[in-house]
């Protein structure tokens, strides 16, 4: 019974790879998308609105398929086997960046106008005003919704099965089918839960570290 554990662990490694790479790229990428979405330029804002709408309005699973097969079916480009994990990371990162962009926007828009005005009168440039005064306050405000997304991301990694990537849930299903037992699926579920518990714990700690002001 216990021999399937290494297989699930190798799947867990793949899951963690998707998870961390997606966070590394999508958290910062959300910011420029957010700026575009808030731009006074109607064209730029329009592009961001459409992109966000498509990314949020279609299944992530479908987006992963498009990223993986798109280069070949649309442009006829043949890519090597590395493209599988690359396309997964691109698909996840861009999809999550769209959600983060909207969370950041809500955070920025919730900062009182007086903060901007005080900074402007004191002579801060637009860039300094954002990075010194608005951004740090925004981070505190967006942490709870960002935590939500991060937890969802861990579970969403299982969608990578759609391009035949051997992440944890795919491995668990394979073992379950081969051994005709449901136990591997529960073991995978337990891994997801433990990992999410850790993530929630860490993010809550970070959230608390901002409690020194209100």
């Amino acid at each position: 019974m216990i021999e399937f554990i290494p297989k699930i662990l190798s799947g867990a490694k793949a899951t963690l790879l998707i998870f961390f790479m997606t966070l590394i790229f999508s958290l910062p990428l959300g910011l420029p998308i957010c700026f575009m979405r808030m731009s006074k330029n109607r064209f730029v804002k329009g592009i961001a609105t459409v992109i966000i709408s498509i990314l949020r309005g279609t299944p992530l699973m479908l987006q992963l398929i498009v990223w993986f097969f798109g280069p070949y079916y649309i442009f006829g480009i043949r890519l090597n086997s590395d493209w599988r994990i690359l396309s997964i990371i691109i698909g996840f990162s861009i999809n999550y960046a769209a959600y983060f962009a909207e969370i950041y926007r809500a955070g920025i828009e919730s900062i009182p106008i007086g903060q901007y005005e005080a900074a402007t009168v004191l002579g801060y440039t637009k860039t300094k005003r954002f990075f010194k005064i608005i951004f740090p306050q925004m981070v505190k405000r967006v942490l709870p919704p960002v935590t939500n997304e991060v937890i969802t991301l861990i579970k969403d990694t299982s969608l990578a099965f759609v391009v035949a990537y051997a992440e944890m849930f795919t491995m668990a299903k394979q073992v379950a089918a081969a051994e005709t037992t449901i136990v591997p699926l529960f073991v995978a579920g337990l891994f997801y839960y433990i990992f999410n518990y850790l993530v929630a714990f860490i993010l809550e700690k970070i959230e608390k570290s901002f409690n020194y002001y209100s």
Partner: protein
């Protein structure tokens, strides 16, 4: 010498005239009180003086330097071609001029994520590129003057409203402005805390600081200001010696307004 001068200032919002041809100046060491009912255009006027809002037409100068000129019925700001708040915010030339004035807001607008000391110190260091040690000494001097030297390492949320407003005044002073604007500095405070802020402003007046104060505290304006202007419906109805204007107004509208305070 005129520290500040504004001439024929006009401002409308969506076709509604908020300021209709207002002119006044502020001399060095003078305290000017601006009084008037809510919605009379006082705050808009102050926002125009501090570049938070642009005027549609008129002229403005700081220390004799023309910042805004009137050109074919529209105002023209130095360093920008377009009339918009964005253009004002992005105007690099105005940043230098902003160091001439400070603004104290009705609801303080301190930066909540910074300590009291950093609130006071950051702009002189990061905007004016002054020496950190020199700025820290200066910031502590102003905090001491405000009776807040023991609160330097506290955060704004740990202070009372009156203390927060005193930090805001120290923040404005630390940039060594030539003129300080106060936009109803006591309107968010209870009567007890109002007293402590008014005392601080009175002390500044005794040191011959140049100030423009928008206020509803008539007794305070009468005793502390040198001159007063009464604004109603976007025009100056009456102006003159503060004590005279408030105790013995000439115009009917001024009398009617001041009656509400007695």
């Amino acid at each position: 010498m005129n520290i500040f001068e504004i001439k024929n200032c006009k401002k409308s919002f969506d076709g509604i005239k908020v300021i209709d041809d207002i002119s006044f100046n502020v001399k060095e060491g003078e305290v000017l009180a601006i009084i008037g009912s809510s919605g009379s255009g006082k705050t808009t006027l102050l926002r125009i003086c501090t570049f938070l809002q642009y005027m549609d037409d008129g002229e403005m100068s700081y220390l004799g330097e023309k910042i805004v000129t009137s050109d074919n019925g529209a105002s023209r700001y130095i360093g920008q071609n377009e009339l918009s708040i964005d253009a004002l915010n992005n105007n690099k030339e105005l940043i230098k001029i902003k160091s001439n004035f400070g603004l104290v807001f009705q609801n303080f607008n301190l930066f909540p994520h910074w300590t009291v000391l950093r609130n006071v110190m950051d702009a002189p260091i990061s905007v004016e590129k002054r020496d950190k040690d020199e700025v820290e000494a200066s910031a502590m001097k102003y905090l001491k003057k405000m009776g807040l030297e023991t609160k330097a390492m506290r955060y704004p949320c740990e202070l009372s409203g009156g203390q927060q407003q005193r930090v805001a005044i120290a923040r404005a002073l630390c940039l060594e402005p030539k003129i300080i604007y106060f936009d109803e500095p006591t309107s968010a405070l209870d009567p007890e805390l109002t007293g402590e802020i008014l005392k601080v402003i009175k002390d500044l007046a005794n040191e011959n600081k140049t100030m423009v104060i928008v206020t509803h505290e008539m007794n305070f304006a009468r005793d502390v200001a040198d001159r007063a202007i009464f604004v109603d419906n976007g025009v100056i109805v009456e102006e003159g010696d503060a004590h005279e204007l408030i105790t013995n107004p000439k115009m009917e509208r001024t009398k009617k307004f001041l009656q509400k305070y007695n």
